[in-house]
């Protein structure tokens, strides 16, 4: 029998994978990918909670998260391409130009 915890653990594992990506990746595009992983893992958690609590709010949240991801990619990718055309790279270590 699959319980809520199963889903939550899977969501947590995916979240952690996404977090590894966020920390490990230096390529901006890959960072975006990792962000998508984070969002998706949270979506799983929301929908699982929604299912097991018999409550629709979780699904609504997931719905809005998908909408956010869509707008994120529209703006983020535009900026990314702009950056690439100007700097000819999307490597975080290279485009760093502020030093504390």
């Amino acid at each position: 029998m699959i319980t809520l915890n199963h889903y939550l653990i899977v969501a947590a594992v995916l979240f952690v994978i996404g977090m590894i990506g966020v920390m490990r990746r230096k390529n901006l595009l890959m960072l975006f990918f990792s962000t998508e992983i984070l969002l998706n893992s949270v979506n799983i958690g929301f929908v699982a909670l929604s299912h097991y609590l018999n409550d629709l709010s979780g699904q609504i949240f997931a719905f809005f998260i998908i909408a956010i991801a869509a707008s994120e990619v529209a703006v983020g990718l535009g900026l990314l391409i702009l950056l690439y055309k100007r700097k000819n790279t999307v490597d975080l270590d290279v485009i760093q130009n502020m030093h504390g």
Binding site: L92, D93, N97, H99, G100
Partner: protein, 623 residues
């Protein structure tokens, strides 16, 4: 009727805004004309309102909108015109309208012409607001509004150090008094849960006596400030730094009488506590005498009139304190007319003499300024209380009140003061208009003021003449619908006529003495300066000096101590410490800001882990 009320109230505001918009420009005639015309409109509306109240005997009341609505505290933005208010608004609008028209001439050559009219109209609006409001809070707003306008107008020539000092003094002293008033209003609200007059007065009997004592006392403190009663009186004389129309309007006819108005308006609060009333009366009598004495020797024309105002306010407070509210209000009205007239006349003289204020440097202006001479003499006669002019009817009534109420000490004091009043009034008239033409020594060529200024003054003169016997009956009939209708009659005709004639003769003698003493005077006699009484009086009983020494200087020292020791050493140091520590923290954490997004993301994750640990810990604790 509501529309008329709004017209009367808001026409000055419109005028003020109109002139205010033009405030930055150089002189424009329209900036003076429009507020004046609007004030005439307001005057007309006020008169119609008065007629309405007179004929129907019912008050006009409106509620514009909910003003404050916080929890149980509900104050509506309401106005009413009842009998007392009707009298007040008519007095205010009549005097203001005349002063406005007069000012067009008086401020003719002033750079701040537009600004002046903006302030002046704003003052009228505030005063109307004060008078028409149907609750204590609205009254307080108007109260502060007139305070602000007084400040602005006294300090109108702000480049003059003395003017701005006087403005500050007036403002600060009024604030001290206003605190008392605010506390009084707060106390009313605390005790009764309302600030609306009707509701407050209907519930007076529910109040504890001690509380009522406190309320009335605190409200009177406010009235003392505004009406410049004894300990807070010094600002009024200094406020003469403002333009003369301002002195006429604010510091003679309207604003300073707001204190009297407050006591009259709140008569139902004062009625159950005659002790406070008696105190008010005593203070009033004292101030009447005290101010008159200072006016005796002063060498500043406007200050003399200002002290005279103070003295007359004392009269009003005597009447109000003794429960003769309608008498107080009556004297307020008559006084407004002739005092405004007197001030405006003084303004003419000042103009003619190129802002010279010392009457010893004038003399014989009778020929050069015939109109002004007649008007000022008329006003002085009215002020002195000679029958049949307005001053007689009101002032004599106050004397009668004191007599009838068996306060003979008060009566004596007031009688003496009446003599003093007559003396200094005619000392002034004699010095200015009669005798040798001393001004020639200073090479001044006096000239009469514009004709329209004199015409503007003439309604006041007519009112000063007829207000007494012309209006007394109607006024009594109307006002007593609201105020306690006590007829003060000395029952024995012998005593009555003795009193009347005695007073007239006494006053007449004083006038005569003043003439005899001052018509022939050639110059100021320095010998008198060594006289102890002269010194006492010219230094205003050393009260400003005492204030300076015992209040101002120690307070300045205290402030300096607080600034140097407390503020700089402790408060600033703490603030600086916070700033420097944050700055140091920034220096330390600067290393985190490498500009590398990857590093930042790692730090973010670290923070995330920390937050999670905290969350987990909280969960554990909650278990």
């Amino acid at each position: 009727m509501e529309n008329l009320l709004y017209t009367a109230l808001f026409a000055p505001l419109v005028g003020s805004i109109f002139a205010g918009v033009l405030g930055g420009r150089s002189k424009m005639m329209i900036a003076g004309l429009v507020p004046s015309i609007l004030l005439l409109v307001s005057l007309a509306a006020s008169l119609v309102l008065l007629g309405h109240v007179l004929s129907t005997g019912t008050a006009v009341a409106v509620t514009m909108f909910d003003w404050i609505n916080i929890g149980n505290f509900n104050v509506a933005f309401g106005f009413q015109v009842d009998q007392v208010t009707a009298v007040m608004i008519c007095v205010v609008t009549v005097v203001s309208a005349m002063v406005h028209i007069y000012s067009i001439g008086y401020m003719d050559h002033d750079k701040g012409f537009n600004r002046f009219f903006s302030y002046l109209s704003l003052f009228v609006f505030s005063m109307m607001f004060l008078v028409m409001s149907d609750n204590f809070l609205g009254l307080f707003v108007g109260w502060e509004g007139v305070g602000v306008c007084s400040y602005l107008l006294v300090g109108f020539w702000y480049h003059k150090r003395s003017a701005s000092w006087a403005a500050n003094e007036a403002f600060i002293m009024n604030r001290v008094a206003d605190l008392g008033m605010l506390l009084g209003i707060a106390l009313i609200y605390w005790q009764l849960g309302t600030v609306k007059y009707d509701e407050v007065f209907a519930n007076v009997d529910k109040l504890d006596m001690t509380v009522l004592l406190w309320i009335t006392g605190l409200l009177f403190v406010g009235a003392m400030g505004k009406s410049a009663q004894f300990p807070l009186h010094t600002w009024l004389a200094d406020a003469m730094e403002g333009p003369t129309p301002v002195s006429a309007l604010i510091h003679a006819a309207t604003m300073v009488t707001a204190g009297v108005y407050l006591v009259v308006r709140a008569n139902e609060l004062y009625a159950p506590v005659p002790e406070v009333g008696y105190f008010i009366a005593c203070l009033g009598a004292f101030v009447a005498m005290f101010a008159a004495s200072m006016a005796l020797v002063n060498r500043d024309m406007k200050r003399i009139i200002a002290y005279s105002t103070l003295s007359q306010l004392g009269y009003m407070f005597v009447a109000a304190g003794l429960g003769a509210y309608w008498v107080a209000l009556f004297h307020l009205m008559t006084h407004a007319f002739f005092k405004a007239l007197l001030f405006l006349g003084a303004g003419n003289v000042m103009h003619a003499m190129h802002d010279e204020l010392d009457p010893f440097k004038m003399g014989g202006l009778r020929k050069a300024m015939k109109g002004t001479f007649i008007l000022m003499t008329l006003a002085s006669v009215a002020l002195a209380g000679i029958w049949p002019l307005a001053g007689f009817f009101s002032k004599d009534l106050i004397l009668e009140v004191a007599f009838v109420e068996h306060h003979f000490i008060l009566y004596t004091v007031l009688l003496l003061t009446a003599g003093l009043t007559a003396f200094y009034s005619f000392r002034l008239v004699a010095l200015i208009f009669h005798g040798e033409e001393r001004y020639k020594l200073f090479g001044i060529h006096p000239h009469e003021a514009y004709r329209f200024m004199l015409i503007a003054m003439s309604p006041l003169a007519i009112l000063a003449v007829i207000a007494g016997f012309g209006f007394k009956g109607d006024y009594f009939a109307m006002v007593t619908q609201m105020l306690p209708a006590t007829e003060y009659h000395v029952h024995s005709p012998v005593v009555y006529w003795t009193m009347v004639f005695g007073t007239q003769i006494f006053v007449g003698l004083a006038i005569a003495y003043a003439y005899i003493k001052y018509v022939k005077v050639k110059a100021f006699d320095p010998a008198i300066e060594s006289n102890f009484f002269y010194k006492l009086l010219i230094n205003q009983y050393y009260i400003p000096a005492l204030y300076e020494k015992f209040i101002t200087v120690p307070y300045a020292k205290l402030s300096r101590f607080a600034w140097k020791q407390i503020d700089q050493r402790i408060v600033d140091a703490i603030v600086d410490l916070i700033a420097t520590s944050i700055y140091k923290l920034g220096e330390v954490s600067k290393r985190m800001h490498t500009g590398n997004l990857s590093t930042m993301l790692r730090l973010m994750t670290l923070g995330f882990v920390i937050v999670l640990v905290i969350a987990l810990a909280l969960q554990m604790m909650a278990k």
